[in-house]
Symmetry: C2
Subunit: 355 residues, 2 copies
């Protein structure tokens, strides 16, 4: 068990050792750790050594020159110069927020970036400004579009954060697949079968083998199969890919570079790095903020108090499970799985940092 | 069998008989008929008598004063004054397009409107301007959020239209439920069971009874159940509801008024009418349009040529089935189901119009 602060400081020091400037290292550690705090263990310190290996392979630039390469009053494109997505993402979201302040909304597409942690963190940056925040990113291809047996899309998450008044904010953060890859990794560790509708084998048949993707299969778009709307999950993943990469000039579809250093990026790239897309809309660009928040409170209370089939269950508001995790882990600390613990120890040894 | 032009003119005359100004009647007929042309029969002339009955019940205003009630350079709110969504929607989308021309993007939330036909038509208005278009709307509550047995959301569709170069555009238009209500109506007419994951009965148990919703059950969010990601479909439907109604001041959640005249709108409304949300983003507000379109072409060709499990099937690009329907029906005409044919005959008799 480690405290949040202990893991945050460790990560910050690792980023410093990679040569990140101090403000970048602190920001990257904060974004990375927000995943552990919010219970999305697959996207937190468990990935720290992955960033290090990509940096060692020359595929992450620790001192990027992050630039706005094109803009209008409400839109912009940022070139991340191969930097950590954990740093490039927040800069791009800040630009969206600034534009929203100026003209009501701001929309920023990003190229030449890297894994940006959890999408929810970025979207939530808008909340403190009474803005609605949005964040999406493309990712290494693991997902087969409906009918296909090739992997052409990433799990391409969408996050939307909406402020409320007395109620906590609405924070949706979802992969556009039936199940996120992290959920599958849990089943792999336990050796348990995956539910039907999560993945297919390399011939395109439904499989419950949690190793199915590693064996040449694919994750399935939200919906699972055509009859259950997988073409809609495919549409959503495609929109994320296009907004993040075709708008910005990043790699899209099968050209998105893998997050792991042992796989080479595809030859003949169609763009630079991976892509993200951020949005911010000032609530009072539509109606007075207090009025909006009062109605959001009513929306939330209405949904939360809906009758349920099982009286021990409640209808959740998007963000509820993550808030509960954050409450518990801020107080009690963060328990790491043994392989993650070992991974961090090795990183500590390499850089001479105590965990 | 009727030609497109025959049905369009008939609908236009019905709207004129309702007292719509000529430009509104022509526009409403065009938007309505785009559904029949594109093969979404549930949203076309089959609904014409429904609009008439709502007008007779005093719930549609044929001569609305459609007003921009609030705006910033990139956002706006429109009050539809109880007009046809088929007219209010296009006016709002035009405002989004105009703002996009000025400052790169435009986002318009609409209150006090009514059913706006197919979301795809509205999103596609952006294409001719080399813009990405978006349209969404809330709708009468038929959908239970994950775990709930109450109907709190509509099928709340999302449409995204993205221009390409030599390839046809990408046009996604999807209900945020596993299956749209129109698909269920087809099974009801045929007396066939619905697939598991489409709906639940009034106790919240999975059912295949296509009359399940009429018997107090509910449609299920995209995903079907928690294990298959229904909380994500619920998130998407919720975002549509909030963007369309909480931002604008329309009714949301269980307060959205029903489209049918024989059901009264809920007492104590929380807003006015139903809500929509529209967006437009100029492609060249991000990168040169020709460059974007060239990459969209490559995206489309890559996905369309992906290997499939069944060699007789191809990976579809969103919009393909509707384009195929439009091609066939423009040439061969539109076949109406007998009850729809009868419905239109009765409308014709009422207003003295020949079908």
């Amino acid at each position: 068990m480690h405290s949040y602060e202990q893991l945050r400081r460790f990560s910050e020091q690792v980023f410093l050792q990679m040569g990140c400037p101090p403000d970048h290292a602190a920001l990257a550690a904060e974004v990375l750790l927000s995943a552990d705090l919010r219970g999305i263990d697959s996207h937190g310190v468990a990935r720290l050594s992955g960033y290090v290996r990509l940096w060692e392979a020359g595929r992450i630039n620790a001192t990027p020159n992050i630039q706005v390469v094109h803009e209008t009053p409400s839109t912009g494109v940022i070139d991340g110069d191969g930097g950590l997505g954990l740093v490039v993402g927040p800069k791009a979201m800040q630009l969206a927020i600034e534009k929203s302040r100026q003209v009501g909304s701001g929309w920023v597409s990003v190229r030449h970036s890297n894994h940006f942690g959890i999408a929810g963190w970025h979207a939530m940056q808008a909340l403190q400004h009474d803005m609605i925040g949005m964040a999406m990113t493309n990712a290494s291809p693991l997902v087969a579009p409906t009918f296909a047996i090739e992997r052409l899309l990433g799990t391409n998450p969408i996050a939307v954060a909406i402020p409320a008044g007395e109620q906590p904010p609405f924070v949706a953060d979802m992969a556009t697949t039936t199940a996120a890859n992290g959920k599958l990794e849990i089943l792999q560790r336990k050796g348990e079968p995956a539910p039907v509708g999560w993945l297919q084998d390399k011939e395109g048949h439904s499989t419950t083998d949690p190793q199915g993707v590693a064996k040449g299969g694919a994750l399935l778009p939200l919906g699972g199969d055509r009859e259950h709307g997988s073409h809609k999950g495919y549409c959503l993943g495609a929109v994320v890919d296009i907004f993040s990469a075709v708008l910005s000039g990043a790699n899209y579809g099968p050209w998105v570079p893998p997050f792991v250093s042992f796989l080479s990026p595809p030859a003949n790239p169609v763009g630079q790095g991976i892509g993200h897309f951020f949005g911010a809309m000032r609530v009072d660009a539509f109606r007075p903020a207090e009025e909006f928040k009062r109605h959001m409170d009513q929306w939330i209370v209405t949904f939360r108090s809906a009758k349920t089939a099982d009286p021990t269950q409640r209808v959740l508001i998007p963000g509820d499970p993550e808030r509960e995790s954050e409450r518990i882990r801020s107080e009690q600390g963060i328990e790491l799985l043994p392989p993650v613990e070992k991974d961090l120890q090795q990183l500590g040894d390499k850089f001479g940092i105590n965990l």
